[in-house]
Symmetry: C2
Subunit: 373 residues, 2 copies
């Protein structure tokens, strides 16, 4: 019991709103990505910020993933506590109390972390010295995101500091978040070509200090094909491919690499009807709207923001005129952005056999839900 569902129940019986996984589609997505990285000879370290769930992480690891990425220490703690043994925080932590927790966790699972400043390196080294555990340390460079990370020319000096503080320099963190949703395939390729140039410059600055750069890690669901072909990235970090949200499906992929299917849905139902609109019981407390409204699955209906608890459906302007759904009728949504949508729910209801006739095969706790610290 959880997420408004019980094992073995038919899809029709799942309470709404519920976060539902089409297991068949998700497994095909995991297999497609595993096959792709194998064919290109690169490692896969999927980003668990998308699913936040050890049951899904275990499936990715079983399909050959090297480990997982997370963004926050508390996500690492939650996944480590539920059996994930190799976790990379692809993000900076400079708070000493958090670093003490990180250094303690390093005694339980294999850990890695990113740094982008001397203060972070000093505090990380101090924390690890107290516990005596070793971790992998990546230097983050800014390859176009304009958020964290140093300019490429500064990478060598930081890598040198990592080593000078007695830690293992593991390579470069180089993720271009802004490139992921450039709609045109050639634009994404050009953005990653630019990133790769910056990675090479960072590698040169590392070599100039007498160090080698063991690994370059990065890439997302919108760009991993290009990082894989770059010759410099040894590890890819896509996360959303496992679910394929509405925002990513709006990208043009042009048969470059595998295609992924929608595997994450919000089940909702009509709870009020107007003359020209239907109101469903899933608003932006059930699915995140930071990347736009959800898509109404397989119906010519448009979703309009009805607030925290309501969605307003109207017949799509461009679509064939169709009857609005009736009171009580089920409506499936494909969320705009999977990661923060998952963060709104405590459980996945995992369905086998499709959204029409399937049954609940598993109910998975979302262990890293709400883990932002």
């Amino acid at each position: 019991m959880g997420g408004g569902a019980t094992l073995g129940q038919s899809v029709d019986e799942i309470d709404t709103p519920a976060l539902v996984i089409d297991l068949d589609a998700m497994e095909r997505n995991i297999a497609s990505m595993a096959k792709f990285v194998h064919s290109r000879g690169v490692a896969l370290r999927p980003h668990a910020k998308s699913h936040k769930c050890s049951a899904i992480a275990q499936r990715q690891l079983h399909a050959g993933a090297a480990g997982v990425c997370v963004q926050k220490l508390s996500e690492a703690e939650a996944l480590a506590a539920t059996g994930v043994r190799d976790i990379y925080i692809s993000n900076e932590v400079v708070d000493s109390r958090k670093l003490a927790r990180f250094a303690a966790l390093a005694g339980q699972v294999k850990l890695a972390i990113a740094v982008d400043c001397l203060l972070g390196i000093e505090r990380l080294a101090a924390a690890l010295q107290l516990t005596g555990h070793a971790v992998d340390v990546f230097v983050e460079i800014d390859v176009g995101q304009g958020r964290c990370g140093v300019p490429p020319a500064a990478a060598g000096a930081l890598a040198h500091q990592v080593v000078a503080h007695g830690m293992r320099f593991a390579g470069l963190q180089a993720y271009h978040g802004k490139a992921q949703h450039l709609r045109n395939c050639n634009e994404r390729e050009a953005a990653i070509r630019h990133s790769v140039g910056l990675v090479r410059a960072a590698q040169a600055s590392i070599t100039a200090t007498g160090l080698r750069c063991p690994l370059v890690t990065g890439g997302g669901t919108g760009s991993f094909v290009f990082e894989a072909a770059s010759g410099v990235y040894g590890e890819l970090q896509p996360g959303s491919y496992v679910f394929m949200d509405r925002d990513y499906s709006a990208n043009e992929f042009a048969n470059r690499g595998p295609r992924f299917e929608h595997a994450l849905f919000v089940k909702s139902q009509v709870m009020s009807r107007g003359a020209a609109h239907a109101v469903i019981d899933a608003g932006h407390k059930s699915h995140a709207i930071d990347s736009g409204m959800p898509m109404v699955w397989q119906r010519d209906l448009d979703y309009f923001n009805g607030g925290d608890e309501h969605g307003i459906l109207r017949v799509a302007a461009a679509g064939a005129p169709r009857t609005l759904p009736s009171l009580g009728e089920t409506v499936w949504l494909v969320p705009g952005h999977c990661d923060p949508t998952v963060n709104l729910h405590d459980h996945y209801v995992a369905v086998r056999g499709g959204l029409e006739d399937g049954r609940v095969e598993s109910i998975w706790a979302i262990q890293a839900r709400g883990c932002s610290s």
Copy 2:
């Protein structure tokens, strides 16, 4: 322990990101609203969709509130389980399994619910007949929101159906959500004047069926002054006044009714620094952005969307040039929209004595967090 804090801790020691209440400010807000409704001779039934927390509901009840509103059955269940005894679901429920849960809960606490269709009335009556419990039933009319509710002229027929199905017709639910954030005070007043006209028309249609309308309930933090002055509303439902988020504080209030203070904050810290920007560890997984970006509290800095886990701060264009915060420095955010921000956290860290020198007085579970069903 919870929300990254422990009782008695100083504000500086609270882990980030954390959802922090300035208790002194919140208590002044609760007292101001209690004083206002008392002076106008109307009842107050604050909307618990804002705070989702029985500890805060109890403070509102202690200050004289008649009960609380919620939007969803699962919120009612969560608050009932933690001691709230009078709950109104100001929203429709048409699902028979949910209505069975509602009818069961009616044996434990005083409940009310809204209806806007015959099917909902029939199913509600059937569910209550099985448990033998009574509830108050409000007919919702659409007073400008364009979401749920019937046109005023249809209110009488539905009220008649409520009674014909053996239930207690309690009055009209009439909330104009779209009016709440009209920035200009006169525009909000005009919108509510229009709503009041629709309420009167609905009352007339009820009287025409031979019934009386015991109560009109509605109003929000942006409009309650006008519903209070209308002569038709007997009960007000504001929720956000307890916290006063950035979106509501952007309204022009023109000394019409009490002013409220910001009482809800997200504590964050700088975890990366660029030449012209600082990156904090609180993105839209820590505060909701459906109503815009948060305000950086008492600093001339603008917040830019940095994704789920990051916020990007730059010196405000209009503000005096100021130094960006340093690595590790605390930055306080006033969330854009309080209700969905609260939904992202498991605990409130309630601070006494202000954000500079205060101490953690209480840590409150947010019992109705994630309750969307």
